[in-house]
């Protein structure tokens, strides 16, 4: 309830108002002002995506794929370590890796890229085998990819021969052979080790002789070996230099092998890998001796081929003994 005087006061205040002419003036001003002045446009309007893309289709074709690429970056990143049993694996092997290959400009880097991918496939097979997940389906998948990488490497090596030098091609070739043979041995060892566990778990006593991937790896190494360069007749200088290089490599490996194989952090090293390493070094030495014999017999071409065998074998021994990431 309000006081009477308060009521009067309120009514008196309420009577404070505009005159009719003031009211009309204000109304007229509002209407004329809004007719004259358009609403203020944002300074960023010109940069609006829809405006820019409507003016230039080129922007549309660049910006949209860029947005898609950036937003899919995390998926691509996640696919990096995926294995053949993962849903991201096709993205990795069919899109990400080929794109990286396309971005390799020189033939040398293309060859190294393909060689690296082949090694990656074998590492994936080793990881799956360790987890008992290397089934026939995954084996086929990896074997097919391995063959594809070998063909691409072969093509790239042909071009390296002409665009770079035969020495560079030989270097990549022996590295590839070493990687393939070393990882094929490791894979065989892992599969044999995992086999009894699998039999116990599944109750399946039948022997699994399906070691397709290691076979494919060895075949790949052989294929690349066949395309290796032949030494020019009477190029004794090149032969001697190569021989000295391999001799030195064998000596260094021989010197460090015991140290590498008995590292404290490698106490669980597979004994079969150790014996394989020593065997491989012996084979490298034998190949070097063989090269000498062929050289004495006057067959420089065959001697050089044996030198490359020796080089490949000693690199293989190094991978088996030292490369922590390679074996594990």
């Amino acid at each position: 309830m309000k006081d009477k005087k308060l009521e009067i006061g309120i009514n008196e205040i309420k009577r404070v108002s505009m005159t009719d002419s003031e009211k009309n003036d204000v109304y007229r001003n509002i209407m004329s002002f809004s007719a004259r002045v358009k609403s203020v446009q944002s300074p960023w309007f010109a940069f609006s995506f829809s405006i820019v893309s409507s003016r230039s289709r080129l922007v549309y074709y660049i910006v949209v794929p860029l947005i898609i690429i950036l937003s899919s970056g995390s998926v691509v990143f996640a696919s990096q370590d995926s294995l053949p049993d993962s849903i991201l694996y096709p993205l990795k092997v069919k899109i990400v890796e080929p794109i990286k290959g396309v971005l390799s400009f020189s033939q040398k880097s293309k060859a190294i890229h393909e060689s690296g991918l082949a090694k990656k496939r074998l590492l994936e097979a080793e990881t799956l085998a360790k987890g008992g997940k290397l089934d026939v389906k995954n084996e086929k998948k990896i074997s097919t990819l391995l063959t594809t990488h070998t063909i691409s490497l072969n093509n790239a090596l042909d071009k390296v021969n002409t665009s770079e030098s035969p020495e560079v091609a030989d270097e990549i070739s022996t590295n590839f052979r070493a990687e393939m043979n070393a990882h094929a041995k490791v894979l065989d060892i892992i599969i044999k080790r995992e086999e009894p566990k699998k039999d116990i778990e599944t109750g399946d006593n039948s022997k699994n002789d399906n070691v397709k991937i290691s076979n494919t790896a060895r075949i790949s190494a052989e294929k690349i070996k066949k395309t290796s360069n032949k030494i020019e007749k009477n190029n004794f200088k090149k032969y001697k230099e190569k021989k000295e290089e391999i001799k030195s490599l064998i000596e260094t490996t021989d010197k460090n092998i015991d140290l590498n194989l008995n590292r404290e952090d490698e106490d669980e090293r597979e004994p079969r890998v150790v014996s394989n390493t020593y065997e491989t070094i012996d084979q490298a030495k034998a190949s070097l001796d063989n090269a000498d014999i062929k050289d004495l017999a006057g067959d420089l071409e065959e001697a050089y081929s044996s030198l490359l065998d020796s080089e490949s074998l000693i690199k293989e021994a190094n991978i088996l003994s030292g490369g922590k990431g390679d074996n594990d």
Partner: protein
């Protein structure tokens, strides 16, 4: 479509223009300036209608805009920074109407003049809720939208303001 908007605007202008003008005049104590602020307030309403913005409560919208424009006007006039105004607590309350300008600008008669004076004597946070409630008949939820506080806080301020007004004015008012 625009005709509909125009007729809506006209209806609102007809019913609310005096209240907005009055609200501005009591704050700025200058008739010309009050007309300018009133015009600007309604211009913003008209632009909002043209932009198809949803205005659920046009009264609350108009008082909110007018209140902000008055605050802006004080900022410019007194050349005070917002920080200083906040420190002085002038941001949300009524500014005391200057006696010298009030007489010629606000044409309320003796009781009206007395009531304005007493409202201006109230604690700052009670002035606006009390004015909007008693003079403009706005509900606590509407006042809460204009002042940007909760309806409960408005009710509390109204209760305390009435109590204080009763004490300083001698009016016999109760809350209902």
């Amino acid at each position: 479509m625009k005709v509909d908007k125009k007729s809506t605007f006209e209806a609102i202008y007809k019913s609310e223009s005096n209240a907005i003008f009055r609200f501005c005049l009591l704050r700025v104590s200058n008739r010309e300036q009050s007309l300018d602020i009133t015009q600007e307030t309604f211009l913003r309403l008209w632009q909002s209608l043209l932009a198809d913005k949803d205005i659920l409560n046009s009264r609350a919208f108009l008082f909110t805009v007018a209140r902000r424009l008055v605050i802006d006007w004080y900022r410019k006039k007194k050349n005070l920074s917002l920080d200083k105004m906040m420190l002085e607590g002038k941001e949300s309350g009524y500014d005391v109407v200057d006696e010298k300008t009030t007489d010629s600008s606000v044409s309320a008669q003796s009781e009206g003049r007395y009531l304005i004076d007493k409202i201006n004597e109230l604690e700052e946070s009670y002035r606006e809720p009390l004015y909007l409630r008693f003079v403009e008949d706005l509900s606590p939820p509407e006042i809460s939208k204009i002042l940007g506080i909760s309806a409960n806080a408005v009710s509390v301020r109204l209760n305390r303001g009435i109590k204080e007004l009763r004490e300083i004015s001698g009016y016999n008012i109760d809350l209902n």
